[in-house]
Symmetry: C2
Subunit: 175 residues, 2 copies
């Protein structure tokens, strides 16, 4: 298992199904650190140095979040804007993360049929672009749908999807 850093964004993790399951499941593996941004930074004041150090210590970086309005939660966007700075993550001779891999891992509340391949490509474009701009290997995006708990049946289905997702994520991390 490579040294893995999961950057987790979820404003209500305890109420979540997918992100709670996936992050707990991955955190039990060896060499995994999970940083839950909402818990670390309730006021959105990111500790840039601490985050950059955590990145430098990792081989694989996983962005884990629920899809909100076709993109990341704001706390993850603030993390990107603050941490992925010129001179650290990109710039003349300064691609500090160039030996690492980024994996994008997210959950979607809605049914799978609303998210065909071309929509997923648009949704993942900013994080794929981030990886490319910073000369980081893009390890791909995985997602699971129907993550809601509106009924017992829906909840059981969501947990099954989250378990499948966790297995796929482990494979991606190790590939």
């Amino acid at each position: 298992m490579p040294k893995t850093l999961m950057i987790l964004a979820h404003p209500k993790l305890e109420e979540s199904i997918g992100n709670k399951f996936i992050s707990k499941s991955i955190s039990k593996q060896p060499n995994v650190t999970v940083r839950h941004l909402d818990k670390l930074y309730p006021d959105f004041k990111i500790d840039i140095k601490a985050e950059q150090e955590a990145l430098l210590n990792a081989d694989v970086i996983v962005f884990q979040y629920p899809l909100f309005w076709y993109s990341t939660p704001a706390i993850l966007k603030e993390w990107i804007d603050q941490v992925m700075q010129y001179g650290f993550a990109f710039g003349k001779d300064s691609y500090g993360l160039a030996d690492k891999k980024i994996i994008v891992s997210f959950t979607i509340g809605s049914p799978v049929k609303l998210y065909p391949k071309e929509v997923i490509e648009k949704i993942t474009f900013p994080l794929k672009g981030l990886a490319e701009y910073c000369n980081v290997e893009y390890g791909g995006a995985i997602f699971c749908n129907d993550i809601n708990g509106y009924s017992d049946e829906a909840k059981a289905n969501a947990l099954k999807n989250a378990a499948d997702h966790s297995e796929k994520l482990l494979e991606l991390i190790n590939s």
Copy 2:
């Protein structure tokens, strides 16, 4: 001039060229309100009721921001996630903004050649999707490039681009 609400996101507006010029220029028109999110909410704690009231009072909503990592600044994303709620902006019989128009207006620091049409379509997908999901008319996206002040010549060029942009934005608002 329809009642226009500009939702402005820029963490360092005084140092900006394009967003400062465009927001000042539009704010001089009649019936225009500009809400600068970074100034209103330095701690990211959005006043949801105040924002929803401002939306209800407007005919045209303009999202104005600099492109950061292929998407909106985090403060604008937090605004969207908090304000565009179920039961207000969408939901069973609850499309509260259905009689309005959304315009997406942004600046890009990099040269225009890096942003062909298919890239712009990916970049604007989340805000276009937001408009469609909320049954709001999508009034289109406009952007200007090369907005940086690395030299006197670059700054003069950026100001010219921003002035052209402001004119186009006024046309879109009035169309």
